[in-house]
Amino acid sequence: MGTEEHALLRTELRAPLPEAFGSLDGARAALLADALRRARERRLSGLAEAVEDALTLVPALAREPVGRMLQR
């Protein structure tokens, strides 16, 4: 469980790896780490996009203050 890829997977998981995951080769550990990172990025960007879309429905005059209030 000592490879760079396993350390990366632990970082992306934000928790210790279950023991058996130490037996994965580096390429597979890297694949999982990459999938986790991408899933998190997609989720966060999807939520940010949904907030932006919702703001377009706020009347133009109020949009900026509402946006600032949500982003602060």
Partner: protein, 367 residues
């Protein structure tokens, strides 16, 4: 059982991470329980990472009447953001808002709700709402999301939903259920006619692995019901179960189900054409060697036709010394020598000599 649970866990993780399940097929080599733990930690890693904006919208939502919040969710926020918000609100408040949304919209939100919050929300929803949403999810073929919910559904909801779902949906949802320990209870709500129909569909729709996973997840009376209704299927269907098991090497799942059958039912299984084929029987013996399921396997061998028993004996005789040692240890542990000794008569002289030379058997004959 572990192979099928491993497949289900890989499917669920692939859905969570939005990747092709085939890319995660290698997880089948790991213990299913550890893949489940990994998936649960991945859920936390993904859903605990919430932008402050979402929490601020959740705070604003608390200030609005539930009807207004529902209208805004549907018209402005969309399924992704609404699903995320449902996981950040108090379950009672989330349920109050969801109760005012159309089932179609709620169904689209379900996949985006933090799976850890589902039970608390579902418990507070009106049964009518849950039934409508479950039926929309079923119509969309979203078995993985249904699998997250099924363990949390109360009996009145299950009793209304189960008759509306087709057999394949039941099998596919049961296969990926997040709380398989609840499946015995769900199966108990199906009458024998429906359960027999589900078993027949497993054969007709190529869903034996899903059916075996469900049967493996339940025990006692419900496993016996599934096993008996399966054994009562026409020969062609039953034979397809054995062939699927052989092709996918799922003996570890099938044997514990066969083991609960009565003698007559066991004879029906033993008479199947597939269980006369050397390749199938050889794989079966190797599967038993790998899993140590001697107590589940040997009673079946006892009722196999003589020709099939001879094939099993030959396959056993071809095992390596280490595999024979494992066989002897398993048989000794389970006290099954009485079922093994008749097989010895069917092995060739060399195999018999090797088997009789096994320390466990030598100790037995000298002791």
């Amino acid at each position: 059982m572990d192979t099928l649970r491993g497949r289900a866990e890989a499917l669920k993780l692939a859905r969570l991470l939005d990747v092709d399940p085939r890319d995660l097929a290698f997880l089948g080599e790991l213990p299913a329980d550890e893949v489940r733990v990994f998936r649960e930690r991945a859920v936390a890693a993904l859903f605990d990472d919430v932008p402050g904006t979402v929490d601020r919208i959740a705070a604003l939502t608390r200030l609005l009447p539930a009807g207004a919040a529902a209208a805004i969710a549907q018209k402005a926020l969309g399924p992704r953001l609404s699903g995320a918000l449902a996981g950040r609100l108090e379950p009672a408040r989330a349920a109050d808002i969801i109760g005012r949304l159309p089932a179609g919209f709620t169904a689209r939100c379900c996949h985006h709700v933090d799976p850890r919050r589902i039970g608390g929300i579902v418990r507070r929803l009106d049964d009518d709402v849950v039934v409508r949403v479950a039926l929309v999810l079923a119509a969309r073929g979203d078995h993985l999301t249904m699998g997250r919910f099924v363990g949390h559904l109360p009996d009145p909801v299950l009793l209304r939903v189960l008759p509306e779902l087709d057999d394949a949906t039941l099998l596919r949802t049961g296969f990926v259920a997040d709380h398989p320990e609840r499946l015995g209870h769900v199966v108990g709500l199906l009458d024998s006619e429906r359960l027999a129909s589900v078993v027949a569909s497993a054969a007709d729709e190529g869903l034996w692995p899903e059916a075996m996973a469900v049967a493996s997840a339940v025990d006692g009376e419900q496993r016996l019901r599934i096993a008996s209704l399966t054994a009562a299927q026409p020969e062609a269907r039953l034979d397809s179960l054995v062939r699927t098991t052989a092709e996918q090497d799922l003996w570890e799942s099938l044997l514990p189900i066969v083991a609960v059958l009565g003698e007559d039912e066991l004879r029906a299984v033993a008479a199947l054409p597939s269980l006369r084929e050397p390749a199938v029987l050889d794989g079966l013996v190797r599967g038993v060697v790998a899993t140590g399921l001697w107590a589940d396997f040997l009673p079946l061998v006892g009722v196999l036709p003589a020709t099939a028993r001879r094939v099993v004996a030959t396959a056993a005789g071809a095992l390596t010394d280490a595999e024979l040692e494992a066989l002897a240890e398993g048989v000794e542990k389970e006290g099954l020598w009485e079922l093994v000794l008749p097989l010895l008569e069917l092995t060739d002289a060399d195999a018999r000599r090797r088997i009789l030379a096994l320390p466990a058997l030598r100790e037995r004959t000298t002791g």
